[in-house]
Symmetry: C2
Subunit: 360 residues, 2 copies
């Protein structure tokens, strides 16, 4: 198979971790007889430095012409980097929001699970960690407060800022359908999270999700208020299978879910549109403090590449091979610094990439 | 001193826990020579049953005529209670939102701390729990998405719901000033939480908070993005002193902070306006499943009454007496069912109230 990718190495540790993911994809290509073609585009701080904007329309056009995008990470230190002196619409994050919108990537999937080998890193107490957890956070990614009309103006001499949270039934339906489809391949439970006791958008959300649920009689649907969900994630994460929510709640809850796994350097993500097209990136940030030191954990990016094999190219066997290689490398005791503990072998970013390639 | 209170027992366990808090206030009155006068008003489900609405204007007028409100809890089981078949503006929670707005209770204070005696209940691992934590969540309570214009309508045949997130500089300034004032009496650190990389309201928030900070050179101000804050609360809660944030983020984060303490039945809250007036209530919900069984933990409500003594009546000595009595009762090994563990003595709600009164 011929797989055409746009690659955004981005800022911070982005270039290092993407290089390892490409190494892994190339190994998959050799073993299974596929060709990966990469075209690099700029986004984020590096794009600002080169072009003055965080994402050019040309870069968007390149991304659109490919099958998928592999992304490292973007952004820098918000207090010290000159990128954060720019107006908001020219900062690195604006590039990320633009590519999500331009490519119609409305469905953000972020698995959060506990690896047996990394249970020690879990910040929850042993009693909870021992039960383990394995959930899929499904966040709507192109609606809500992120993309609503906003403005700041003086009203009767008082500065006033307004953001708008809008959802229509179609936007809710398409992400709900994705969530139920994915639940069917997992443990058949969807927890839809909203604030229906306050927000109109949440009441519409709940109504549409219930309509969609009728087409999936095998899937158990549960509604949960967002404040309660923030509690339940800490108290009893094992209760969750697929968690479905809107953009801003999803931003908060998926980060909370990542953290309770204790190893954000292990967590992948996919952002999908209505077709097989997707953008795949690690859940963690650009970690400018350790950038360029060959210390970053490339596993999240490598697992994101595995998600790409599975969701965009339907290469399940190949995706399994990558995921199993990651499990094996952990069993064999290799760790990057972020997940290192006594009795395990500390390796660099590129060594970790090599070790995973050897196991494919 | 003559202290005039409006009392809202409310629904679920509300009546039981408020009764114990009144017992404690009466004991304080006897010991220290104060008189507490109580006028009961209805709010929530019990008000719907009696009057058809969750809060009457007459009840609001009574509350306004007093020095403070002592509140139990409102609401029932959202799936089974008939209250949740009503339109949103007639449900129990609408009463709560109405009283907050009518009384101008813009500052919600929710302490979240770990009691030495209850460290076992903390869902975080020992390494983190041992460091302990003691933070004050300061949530803006009368602005933002909760009180913005909202509507649901068909746009080109597609149902569309809109909620509005509005803040003006005055709303931000007054809560920021409260946060810095409180930080001055604590460990002199304010973490202001926003989503300034996306929202206009957050950018205005950050700007105004920075202006206010200039008047408090001794207080360290730090900004944190809401998604990061959701992670840091789990990873390292000891880093926080005062956490300042807007209404919706505060709803989510203060519940998360309660949960990491592992004993929500211990956590009090105060909602204040620009004067000494305040409404005081436990952080937990109405727990309809255990209502009427004399099993609920009254400590959160008793500690809320202590906050009332401190913030509304400036009775610091009396507040200390209540807080110390609570600590003593825990040291003496008494526990309600929610915080019970091996080797401690299980007591009922009313017994817990008596035991605390004895220690004042
Ligand atoms: C960088 C920021 C705009 C972004 C978001 O809030 O969506 C990030 O936090 C994420 O979750 O991908
Ligand atoms: C009941 C609900 C409207 C309320 C809120 O969201 O403010 C509650 O969750 C709270 O935190 O007091």
């Amino acid at each position: 198979m011929q797989c055409n990718l746009a690659v955004i190495k981005g800022d911070g540790i982005g270039p290092e971790v993407v290089t390892e993911a490409m190494k892994v994809l190339n190994t998959v290509g050799e073993k299974f007889g596929h060709t990966f073609d990469y075209e690099q585009i700029l986004m984020g701080g590096c794009s600002i430095d080169a072009t003055g904007v965080p994402l050019t329309d040309e870069a968007v056009a390149v991304a659109k012409s490919k099958d998928a995008v592999l992304l490292g990470s973007i952004g820098g230190n918000t207090s010290t980097s000159p990128w954060y002196k720019l107006p908001p619409n020219l900062r690195p994050e604006a590039g990320l929001l633009k590519i999500r919108k331009e490519l119609g990537l409305f469905a953000n999937l972020r698995p959060a699970n506990l690896y047996d080998e990394l249970k020690e890193a879990c910040p929850l107490k042993a009693e909870i960690a021992e039960r383990g957890f394995d959930m899929m956070m499904m966040r709507e990614l192109t609606g809500g407060l992120y993309f609503g009309e906003r403005h700041t103006e003086e009203v009767d001499g008082v500065m006033t800022a307004v953001d708008t949270l809008t959802y229509n039934e179609n936007e809710i339906r398409r992400i709900a359908i994705k969530a139920f489809d994915i639940a069917m391949k997992r443990r058949k439970k969807v927890t839809s999270v909203d604030k229906a006791n306050v927000l109109d958008s949440s009441r519409l959300w709940r109504k549409v999700v219930e309509e969609v649920a009728k087409d999936y009689p095998e899937v158990e649907l549960e509604h949960m208020l967002v404040d309660n969900c923030a509690m339940q994630l800490v108290k009893d994460p094992a209760q969750f299978d697929v968690v479905l929510t809107e953009n801003m709640f999803g931003d908060i809850l998926s980060d909370e879910a990542s953290m309770i796994s204790g190893s954000i350097g292990m967590l992948s993500s996919a952002s999908l549109n209505e077709t097989k097209f997707g953008m795949y990136e690690p859940s963690g940030g650009s970690a400018p403090d350790i950038a360029g030191q060959n210390k970053a954990n490339p596993i999240a990016t490598i697992l994101s590449a595995a998600m790409m094999l599975r969701y965009t190219f339907d290469l399940d066997k190949e995706a399994d091979a990558v995921e199993n290689a990651v499990k094996q490398v952990l069993k064999d005791g290799y760790r990057t610094i972020d997940i290192h503990s006594e009795g395990t072998q500390l390796v660099s970013c590129s060594e970790m990439g090599d070790l995973i390639c050897e196991r494919i």
